[in-house]
Symmetry: C2
Subunit: 466 residues, 2 copies
């Protein structure tokens, strides 16, 4: 390590103490990994222990003109929080920024520092009968969730982060170390530009999120869950419309699962039984739920059973399993890992309008089968939001060039032909930055650039697009 870096590390250690600066290879390693892609290498990991220390750290990094990458729990899937392999970046971890985690039951909100995790919030909220109803496989930090505008499986009912965000505070690179935004916890505040909305879904490119206020919701007191076997995805779309018409605001999840994805679970998760005798072409996981407890007239399980029976009689369903919600959700939450275990993965995080979902899926399947006949198409996702994780298992010796062409073709299909999104919920980072360039209009990129020049003119927040 060169002398200059040693001096810089000493500067940080003076203020942040030993737990605030990690330099040993073993200590740094967990911060150099990536959840899905290759890891990187960091000069050191800085872990400020409060918002004030975070502001000081950002200011010092800026004064020393050091390149950095901000990291929460590093659960993101586009590499935005992973240091580059060249070893030049400093990881700025927000994991110890834990000044405040305070549930306000009257305002039905939580005031929370960026470093707390989703599970931390929900543990504290549960004591008040409240929940932050973002349902994910991972357990990210609140700061990371805001930066990537996390969605998840219950967005159909509650919205994602953006819809539940009351305010955000962040530390800027320019003016270096300055804290902006607010922590007022207002449901209504129509007074101009919203820092919360600017910082949500811009991947940390405009500032380092330090804390936020989020709406909470009453915990569900009853729910009914069914796994439904269907002959094809068109049938799923019809059921979705019927279910929403009949259960209205009670619909809290409508997930689509391909037969191949179910097979992957059956194959690789011995402890997660898939309850169908024959594997269906397509399946949906449906959840209806309410904060009204049983015993007051509303019986969602009986209503869902009744609804399914009618559909069975009408021949609309191949099969339907109503089981303990936890059992059925385990299947859904095991898919990603199971598909990955099948072989070499090529993953997509796409969304289209729900009214074009079935047509898009067919077209995408055709495209993949044409290009790579041996590919296994294990798609699944948040059908109720038009989301589809088109995850493919491809031959392990498939050349990179073919995969690149496949990616371009599928993305073009989704964005140009079906007016969809090339990143429904994972955001933009190094691993899909070229698609940001391809699919973002020049004017939008220029506007983003002008914001970036205003708030981070040296582009020190390096990994984030904009």
């Amino acid at each position: 390590m060169i002398d200059e870096a040693v001096r810089q590390i000493e500067t940080f250690r003076c203020r942040l103490g030993d737990p605030g600066v990690l330099t040993g290879a073993a200590d740094k390693e967990p911060y150099e990994r990536s959840a899905r892609h290759a890891g990187g290498s960091a000069v050191a990991v800085l872990r400020p222990g409060s918002e004030a220390e975070l502001a000081w750290t950002v200011k010092t990094l800026s004064e020393l003109q050091l390149p950095l990458v901000v990291q929460g729990a590093a659960t993101g899937l586009v590499g935005a929080a992973t240091p580059t392999p060249d070893g030049r970046q400093w990881v700025l971890s927000t994991q110890r920024v834990r000044d405040v985690l305070e549930v306000d039951p009257v305002n039905r909100c939580v005031r929370v520092s960026a470093g707390f995790r989703l599970s931390d919030v929900n543990r504290v909220a549960a004591a008040h009968g409240l929940v932050l109803p973002i349902d994910l496989g991972a357990d990210p930090t609140i700061g990371g969730m805001i930066a990537t505008n996390t969605g998840g499986a219950r967005l159909i009912r509650y919205g994602g982060i953006r819809e539940n965000l009351m305010d955000v505070r962040a530390v800027l690179m320019h003016p270096a170390g300055e804290c902006v935004g607010s922590a007022k916890g207002l449901r209504k505040d129509n007074t101009g530009l919203s820092w919360a909305q600017l910082l949500c879904g811009t991947f940390g490119a405009l500032g380092v999120i330090s804390r936020a206020t989020l709406k909470l919701h009453p915990v569900q007191q009853q729910s009914a869950t069914a796994l439904i076997a269907l002959s094809d995805v068109h049938a799923a779309i019809g059921l979705m419309c019927e279910l929403e018409r009949e259960f209205g605001e009670m619909v809290s999840a409508f997930e689509g699962i391909s037969g191949a994805a179910l097979e992957a679970v059956a194959l690789h998760q011995r402890n997660v039984p898939v309850p169908f005798a024959t594997m269906p072409a397509y399946a949906i996981l449906v959840e209806v739920s309410s904060a009204i407890p049983p015993g007051q007239g509303l019986d969602l399980e009986a209503m869902l059973m009744n609804w399914l029976e009618k559909r069975m009689v009408a021949g609309e369903l191949a099969d339907a399993i109503v089981d303990k919600p936890a059992q059925l959700w385990r299947i859904r939450h095991s898919i990603s890992e199971s598909v990955q275990a099948c072989g070499r993965l090529v993953a997509f995080d796409l969304a289209v309008s729900r009214s074009r979902f079935a047509e898009f899926r067919e077209a995408a399947v055709h495209v993949v089968q044409d290009m790579i006949p041996s590919a296994r198409i294990c798609d699944f996702g948040h059908l109720g939001d038009g989301g589809i994780h088109l995850n493919l298992v491809v031959p392990s010796d498939l050349d990179t060039a073919t995969i690149e062409v496949l990616r371009d073709t599928v993305y073009d299909l989704a964005v140009f032909q079906f007016e969809g999104s090339y990143s429904a919920e994972h955001g933009v980072g190094p691993y899909n930055a070229s698609y940001y360039e391809r699919f973002t209009s020049p004017l939008t990129r220029e506007l983003a650039h002008s914001l970036k020049m205003f708030l981070d003119p040296r582009r020190a927040l390096g990994n984030a697009q904009l």
Copy 2:
């Protein structure tokens, strides 16, 4: 009228035709009014009849360097859509921008041009069993609703415009006439800066909204409504928490009404009976509702009656009336007009955290009574969102200077002492622009200014703050 203006009018008439250019005093008059304040005067009113005509009109106005004010239905309460009194501005009305009004029941959304009104959308949506659940006294255009991020009485359940906005298209002043944004109707799209979120709640300062896609919700199939008399506002806060805990997602309105506001209705609306024998100190209007029709076990009216009875027995309520929803909502919707009829109005549109609402209201009442002992404090508002329309009836001969001091004092109390908002849902326009200056941090104003310089460097969109 000077020759130059005559030539310019001819240019517009050539493209937009006679219905597209209004110059006669009587024709212009409806576009020169303001819903609450003094009107203004326009060179002419331009009414393009499509998005393409809108783009051409914006481009031409920009090329001719003419100052303009964009107007939807002119129902706003801060003067942002009213021309200035100097007669120099052109009104650009979006009322005839009505290219598309299309409900997509599968995607559960509406694609709609800026010039359609809320009532137009809901008429078409109702045919599909769907609704855009923004509840307002006025009937604004969709473009105006997005620009001001309209909230209303059912935000507690559905959110406001921001939470229901899928995308927006807008015409820019710079590059003049360029159309930005999208009309994809995606529920998930995490690919960087969102034009929809930038244009929502920035009062038209960044561009002219031409169309949008909004989420729709299933129409409610049952609801129960109660008007509840209370001894004070503290009791209301307690009830709000209990109601949300027991009725969860079914709570669709929780409105607060002062005794003085109820008295104003009783006095000025002969056709709207206020059902209390003695006027309470404070009242709340509660609505619970569901898309699940009666007859399936859920009976919200019985549940609400039962809930109220228990509270009556416990002595928590002074009185409670369960009546036809329409009857009770008429009381709520008559308040604004009734208070205005009582005399000279000084109105505030404030919000604070719900957990500080009661304390804030007490403090505000003290401040007003201290300064103007004869003022009648007829406050009401969306208590469930922390919103309070602190509307005061003051002596008709009260001097302007005193009113200005009163305004400053109340706003300072709300914003500085109670971390609230000086404009909860009405937005910012000429009538509260000085408070934007006072309460917005210099850095936020600078950032807004840099966006403004990028998108409207000549500041042609004149009335809008930023």
